[in-house]
Amino acid sequence: MTLTAHAEPGARLPFDLARIRRDFPILRREVAPGVPLIYLDNAATSQKPVQVIAELTRFYRDHNANIHRAVHTLSVESTELYEGARAKVAAFIGATDPREVIFTRNTTESINLVAHGWARKFLRAGDEVVVSEIEHHSNIVPWQMLRDERGIVLRYIPMLPDGTLDLEAARQIIGPKTRLLSITAMSNALGTIVPLEVLIPLAKVQGAVVLVDGAQSVPHLPVDVRTLGADFLAFSGHKMLGPTGIGVLWGRLPLLESMDPFLGGGDMILTVSMERSTWADVPAKFEAGTPNIADAIGLGAAVDYLAALGMDEVRRHEIEITDYALRRLGDVPGVTIFGPPDVRSRGGVVSFALEGVHPHDVGQVLDTKGVAIRTGHHCAQPVMTALHVPATARASFYIYNTVAEVDTLASAIESAAAFFHRGGVGI
């Protein structure tokens, strides 16, 4: 279809860091005169390549219309682009049927959709939902709300001091009462990669349904639902080069079909009379109202970009840079790094503390050097509680980051230490 011909599908480009950086206009920005931006807050959200920005512009300038239900040219084009984006996203995660891809706002809405449409329908008081101690709040709060409303039991796989999960404990916790294992593939706070290949079979043996929070894995690791073994996969476009406001819930078709709709309104119905309504088929059943058409199409362009790089190359680059960062930051006096020591057990996330300096103050000093990191609890308060820290400083990497940027990060941390330890002079 000519409308999506734009990026050559399947064409594989060499991983050329200089070329990649040129695709991201924001990387040419200075945060103050002479201070170039070094963006290391990728676990919060990624930057967007021109290809994605241009796709949004192109849509609004040339094709914009509401989708479905119309015969006019713009509407036909918009529908093709929107459904084409669904097909691209499906292909990206190995889903054979695009109907298994539901567009949501973000990971948070995707998880809530499962909590409302599936769990509220099928779980009873006493049924157990298993999560872990390293989950993002988005994979804790919906289950607490369900617990308070329906009396399900919420159980946590505990974290070990090195930021990995206690697999022995997991074997005890996942049992015959487990109806749902809802687990992150990678911790955004510590970078821990969770051994899903161990945990998912434990749940499957018990006949439980498995939801994987892929907010950090889909952007950074090769993910294929055909081998993952999960029933649902939730992720966010904005963390994988896509626009804000678009997320995905992938689910196995029979499960999606068995679920209740969530939001009611236009587009999710088959018929409406004053007395009763009937539901449209999946995926429309879960996409009530005018969807985020432009950003879905933008996500399609993001997925094209990542697919052209190859997710194994993305991972290779991140291992390289994270490995360097672990060594480089480990050498800075006063720095403690949290999370698994082995770079292969973590994604491109380095969470750390600087002795005697509050993370917030570290972040502030780094900002004056152009280095953007995140400080705080990273929406993972239970992790902070377990580490006995109020907050951490976190640098997180993506395809465009360089080892030179890690050097600047390291020396900026040294400056922060100097500033606060010696009295605020000479920075």
Partner: protein, 160 residues
């Protein structure tokens, strides 16, 4: 889209079926029947089939809708009448292929059908043309439930 394209969609044979639909009536004692609807544009079709042995001895349709859905229903009835159930099923299959590939179905012995070829170039209208055929399939399956041609259904999301 130009006038030529429009003529391609609304071929004379199609308009003829629309204005003078064949088998547009009911059957007193159908052996099977089914209802179909296109929720997005309001088209509705009802199909009655009379099967004797493995042969469709009579077929009729009712309902309302756009010229494409009505003409397609009319052609469908004309095509299947007198054929075996297996042939009818093959016809449904061939028709759906034609909508996907925009290539002549080569449904043997029934040339009118080629007038629907132009529809394949109009993604928004494929569901109109398909409604009667899907409903026939459902009737023959003896399920008798309601069929819909949701444009977000499998074919569409495959990006066709």
């Amino acid at each position: 889209m130009t006038g030529t394209l429009l003529d391609d969609l609304y071929r004379d044979i199609l308009l003829d079926h629309y204005r003078a639909p064949r088998n547009h009536r009911g059957i007193a004692a159908p052996t099977c029947s089914a209802d179909g609807a296109n929720p997005l544009c309001g088209d509705e079709v009802h199909i009655d089939v009379a099967v004797a042995g493995d042969r469709i001895v009579d077929i009729a349709f009712g309902g309302h809708g756009c010229s494409i859905s009505q003409a397609s229903a009319s052609m469908m009835t004309e095509y299947v009448k007198g054929r075996s159930v297996a042939e009818a099923r093959a016809g449904v299959e061939a028709f759906q292929q034609m909508m996907v590939t925009a290539q002549a179905a080569g449904i043997e012995g029934f040339d009118d059908i080629d007038a629907l070829l132009g529809v394949a170039k109009f993604p928004a209208r494929v569901k109109c043309a398909s409604l009667a055929w899907k409903t026939l399939e459902q009737a023959l399956a003896g399920e008798g439930g309601a069929v819909t041609t949701d444009e977000r259904s499998a074919e569409h999301v495959r990006g066709i």
